[in-house]
């Protein structure tokens, strides 16, 4: 199989959100070393070939003007320059803070909405279609209006990140909550659990893998929100570095900023993947 990167929401069948996969299949004992390492090895070779070709095309053959298209070396140099001048740290911390606030609030709001939506039939009927249709629409089109409401700066970015986190998390949580084992709920009631306790002790734990699936799905979408917000209406943040560097023909810097973004999203997705595997394990045994 291809080494599919974690968190590829497009891969999901019909509903855009995919159900949480069970814990990874146990590795067979007889597998040869070559077999197990083949995919990553090919990927590595690909990467090296790609970088070499890129280097060759830009620096050695000079096929393109390096003002417009930097070489790998230029990108590394630009990244080092950004890091040394402290610009990287400033912008990165702005981006990280905005993202964290939006993503944190969005996750909480999404989980609560999802739990309520997933457990009440009426809420399910009324809220789910709206959530699906919001999921389908380009929320970033709100960016200019948000800027008018909240001023140029962090406000609109946080709202965009919030919205693009909340919707996938709510959809996924609701899916998980509707599938809570009926007998578990009955057992809870028999033992005299209150409504709140049913939520906290049965529905929430049951939905945890789904919630994490939603959180993972929200990483790329919230990153899009962050990027658009920063590129269109903000003086600081990694997205603004991309725009400003490009407008000054410093494409190396723009590429370096994009690389930082990629690295961030990959790390976040990996962390959530790990969490998913940990929390998903008990269910396949149960």
């Amino acid at each position: 199989m291809t080494p599919r990167p974690a968190g590829s929401p497009e891969a999901a069948p019909a509903p855009a959100l995919r159900p949480p996969p069970a814990a990874g299949p146990p590795r067979r004992k007889g597998e040869s070393r070559w077999r197990r390492h083949r995919a990553p090895l090919i990927a590595l070779v690909d990467l090296v070939v790609f970088l070499l070709l890129w280097h060759l095309a830009t620096e050695v053959l000079g096929l393109v003007n390096r003002v417009f298209f930097p070489s790998p070396g230029d990108v590394v140099q630009a990244l080092a320059g950004l890091a040394a001048s402290g610009e990287l740290a400033t912008h990165l911390s702005t981006s990280a803070a905005n993202w964290a606030v939006g993503y944190g609030l969005g996750s909480v709001a999404g989980i609560v909405t999802g739990l309520v939506t997933g457990t009440s039939r009426w809420a399910n009927r009324l809220v789910m279609p709206l959530l699906w249709s919001l999921w389908a629409t380009p929320l970033i089109a709100l960016q200019p209006t948000l800027t008018a409401w909240l001023d140029y700066g962090d406000g609109p970015i946080i709202v965009l990140v919030f919205l693009s986190t909340m919707i996938p998390v709510a959809l996924n949580t609701a899916t998980g909550a509707t599938q809570t084992g009926e007998s578990l709920l009955r057992a809870g009631r028999v033992f005299g659990a209150s409504r709140l306790r049913l939520y906290l002790k049965i529905r929430l734990p049951w939905a945890v893998p789904y919630i994490i699936g939603g959180l993972r799905l929200a990483v790329p979408t919230s990153m899009i929100g962050l990027l658009v917000g920063e590129m269109v209406g903000s003086p600081s943040g990694i997205g603004s570095v991309i725009v400003n560097a490009t407008s000054r023909f410093r494409t190396g810097e723009a590429f370096a900023a994009i690389a930082v973004y990629v690295l961030l999203s990959v790390v976040l997705v990996r962390v959530l993947d790990l969490a998913e595997r940990r929390t998903g394990a008990w269910r396949s045994g149960a």
Binding site: M1, T2, P3, R4, P5, S8, E10, A11, P13, A14, P15, A16, R38, A39, I42, A43, D46, L47, F50, F68, F69, R125, L126, P129, L130, W132, S133, W135, A136, T137, P138, I140, A141, L142, Q143, P144, T145, A148, W149, P220, M223, I224, L227, V228, M231, V232, G239, I242, V243, T246, S247, F249, T251, A254, F255, A257, I258, V262, S265, V266
Partner: protein, 254 residues
């Protein structure tokens, strides 16, 4: 039952807008300039349509969207077929494909403008880039999920590789391809908007940006809501196409 559900949702949307209207026009919870009520939004939409500002911008966006999206469908289905049916292709071309997929494509928009200019080209390209991946990935999944017995049956009857492709695999994968196309529509909408936000001078996205900057929020929201309506209509259309073209494919949601 289904009808009832649809009515309930329609009623809910109407109720939401009515509450919004009441809150602003009757109770004056916020300034009308700041949070325009639905009636004002509708009025500015009608005004924009009547005085001819809307049509050229809408036409520009539509043109770009259609070109970019058609290219994305052709390329996406092609790549998906190749990746899904050949192990070799998927192992050699897979990693660069997934890497490209992992890239935040919209981050390249300023660079696309630098490379291709302020015209339609970078917009078409970003729409293409946004839409192509869901289509390719779903096609790939669809091809991989084709029942081997179907393929074997075709082989037994003497079908060649191309025939198996065209007559069996493509059809069996059709529901998932259409699912990919539906997701592609949603992504393409993002592409349209971002493409025109950054380095744009025409189009609906640009108009939203321009009007908000002039604090004409009623117009901006009118345009945003039209994008929402267009996106949902297009997705419903693709769902309908799937129901007609692949009625055997049972789907859980919608």
């Amino acid at each position: 039952m289904r009808e009832l559900k649809r009515w309930a949702v329609a009623l809910e949307v109407v109720a939401l807008f009515a509450a919004w209207e009441l809150a602003i026009s009757v109770f004056h919870l916020a300034s009308e300039k700041f949070v325009p009520p639905p009636s004002a939004i509708w009025q500015s939409f009608v005004a924009m349509a009547a005085d001819g500002t809307l049509a050229p911008h809408a036409w520009f966006s539509t043109q770009n969207a259609v070109i970019g999206f058609v290219l994305a469908v052709v390329a996406g289905v092609g790549c998906g077929l190749a990746l899904g049916s050949s192990r070799l292709v998927s192992e050699v071309a897979g990693p660069p494909f997934w890497t490209a997929y992992a890239m935040p494509r919209i981050a390249f928009q300023p660079l696309l403008v630098l490379w291709l200019g302020f015209g339609a080209a970078p917009k078409i390209l970003i729409i293409f880039l946004m839409a192509v991946f869901p289509i390719a990935i779903n096609t790939m999944d669809g091809i991989r999920a084709v029942e081997p017995s179907l393929v074997r049956a075709a082989r037994v009857y003497g079908a060649g590789r191309l025939q198996v492709f065209v007559k069996v695999q493509l059809w069996a994968a059709l529901p998932l391809i259409l699912t990919g196309i539906r997701m592609g529509v949603a992504r393409a909408m993002v592409g349209i908007v971002v493409g025109e936000f950054i380095g744009g001078s025409q189009g609906l996205g640009y108009l939203i940006f321009r009007r908000s900057a002039d604090f004409d929020l009623a117009s901006a929201l009118a345009l945003t809501l039209s994008l929402v309506v267009i996106a949902n209509l297009l997705m419903a259309l693709v769902s309908l196409a799937r129901r007609i073209a692949a009625p055997w494919y049972a789907e859980g949601v919608r």
